[in-house]
């Protein structure tokens, strides 16, 4: 009977086999297994080295690549297969961190990119409120007095802040690793939406997210306009019912815990 390592279910066959070898290897075989893992994920380190190289033309390519691989090695050492997280998401912040943390120059570069990124997110937030939609990159560039290239570089330098694990069953990881906070209300709304039937979901999607009028939806779904209106109203009714129950339940819970 083969050895089963918990958590490898979310991996490809190749990855699974490499991690199984690594996890069960004795000390002498472990170095070879580790090398195989490093070679397997090497492209991730190279992608990050290229990304930083694009932003910092002065940096030595070989050094960036080496620092990236050191980050990768660190990620392999720390990775816990049993948590069921995809390694590529776990490793990325380690690789990024190792590259940026390798010298005073790259640390300074990371700090500056982070400042620019914060400025972008602040401007984006203000503009979203004012415009009632997400702003374009040009609008953010105008407000922040940054160039489009500077904005793209800052986003590239930040990568994604995956945490050590993905939340929920489908869990995901972090750089400075923490999930973007999502209002509880939005989570509940998405959950409630997933309970609607396919036709209701499609009507909601077209009407609210693609701004299609009832007539257009009716044409696309081969229904009458009045049917579309009924489906939408029924969906809204179901959502309201689910959310009211959950939302009030949450307040009750908060009251019980003394908040």
């Amino acid at each position: 009977m083969g050895i089963i390592v918990a958590g490898v279910g979310r991996m490809t066959e190749d990855e699974r086999s490499l991690w199984e070898s690594y996890c069960v290897a004795d000390e002498t075989a472990r170095e070879t297994a580790r090398e195989n893992l490093i070679l397997f994920y090497l492209p991730l380190a190279i992608v990050w080295a290229k990304r930083v190289s694009r932003i910092a033309g002065w940096a030595n390519w070989e050094d960036l690549k080496q620092d990236g691989v050191i980050g990768l090695m660190n990620a392999i050492r720390r990775f816990d297969v049993s948590k069921g997280v995809k390694f590529k998401y776990f490793a990325s912040p380690h690789i990024r961190g190792a590259i940026f943390d390798s010298s005073e120059f790259t640390r300074d570069l990371a700090r500056r990119q982070e400042e620019i990124y914060r400025k972008i997110r602040r401007a984006e937030g203000v503009l979203t409120k004012a415009l009632q939609r997400n702003p374009t990159i040009e609008e953010v560039a105008e407000r922040t007095e940054l160039t489009i290239e500077q904005i793209q570089n800052a986003i590239d330098a930040m990568g994604l802040a995956f945490a050590g694990e993905l939340p929920d069953a489908e869990v995901a990881p972090a750089r400075g690793v923490v999930e973007t906070p999502r209002p509880e209300r939005a989570i509940m709304l998405l959950e409630a939406l997933s309970q609607l039937n396919a036709r209701e979901q499609e009507t909601i999607r077209r009407y609210y997210w693609e701004d299609q009028p009832h007539e257009e939806i009716a044409k696309r779904l081969a229904l009458t306009v009045s049917n579309v209106i009924k489906i939408r109203q029924r969906a809204i009714g179901k959502l309201r019912k689910r959310l009211d129950v959950k939302w009030e339940g949450r307040h009750d819970e908060d009251r019980r815990s003394g908040e």
Binding site: L44, N134, G176, A186
Partner: protein, 216 residues
């Protein structure tokens, strides 16, 4: 709840950024139908999430289309050899430093390493985590330890402890987002000093990476 409010909330979902998990799940085609539709509606109009998705796809594509050359193999072998030797030297150096470097400087270095670990390892706190330990760290030489637990009232408590009695009375400035607090390492037994800080729920629901701990 008024229907108008609900309809506005539905429209607002289009401008709500994707979380990192959603982004990953979308990239790997693991979102359900409505989640995917919501993500696509947002991605169409958000250059930040769109760019972040491109970066994820770039990483996934690099892994899928990997081409490893003999130069790569030689490079990795050389690096493994170097780091293996460096680790042994570093372990020796740590032991030496433990005797030579003033405690205050060592503490500053421990705190730097601790923050890095926090930023990489800290898990988002979920409702179900209440009462659980969500983070644990220890310096390589074992002289400073830290852990974080979620209390029943959903506050986060961060504990620090050390067997270095010279640290008794050391004051630390703990900052997490807009929360600032000073704490003092106090003797709790003959061989241990410790301090703890409670982070109210409203602070640890923000960006946990925005943390600093400094010696006052």
């Amino acid at each position: 709840m008024k229907t108008d409010d609900l309809e506005n909330e539905l429209r607002d979902l289009k401008s709500t950024h994707l979380t990192e998990s959603e982004m990953a799940a979308y990239c790997d085609q693991e979102l359900d139908q409505i989640g995917r539709a919501r993500a696509e509606a947002h991605l169409k109009q958000c250059f930040i999430c769109e760019r972040q998705l491109e970066l994820l796809r770039e990483e996934t594509a690099a892994l899928t289309n990997r081409l490893i050359t003999s130069d790569d193999v030689a490079f990795v072998e050389r690096l493994m050899d170097q780091t293996g030797r460096a680790q042994k030297a570093s372990a020796r150096r740590s032991a030496e430093i433990a005797h030579e470097v003033p405690m205050r400087e060592r503490l500053a270095e421990y705190l730097r390493q601790m923050i890095t670990d926090w930023q990489i390892q800290f898990k988002p706190v979920r409702r179900s985590d209440q009462g659980e330990e969500v983070w644990r760290w220890q310096s390589e030489d074992g002289h400073l330890r830290a852990r974080a637990t979620v209390e029943k009232n959903a506050d986060l408590t961060v504990y620090f402890s050390s067997n270095e009695m010279q640290l008794e009375g050391t004051r630390l400035h703990f900052r997490l987002g807009s929360m600032n607090q000073e704490l003092t390492l106090r003797r709790i037994s003959e061989s241990e000093v410790a301090a703890q800080v409670a982070v109210p729920r409203r602070y640890h629901q923000g960006n946990m990476a925005d943390i600093s701990i400094q010696i006052v």
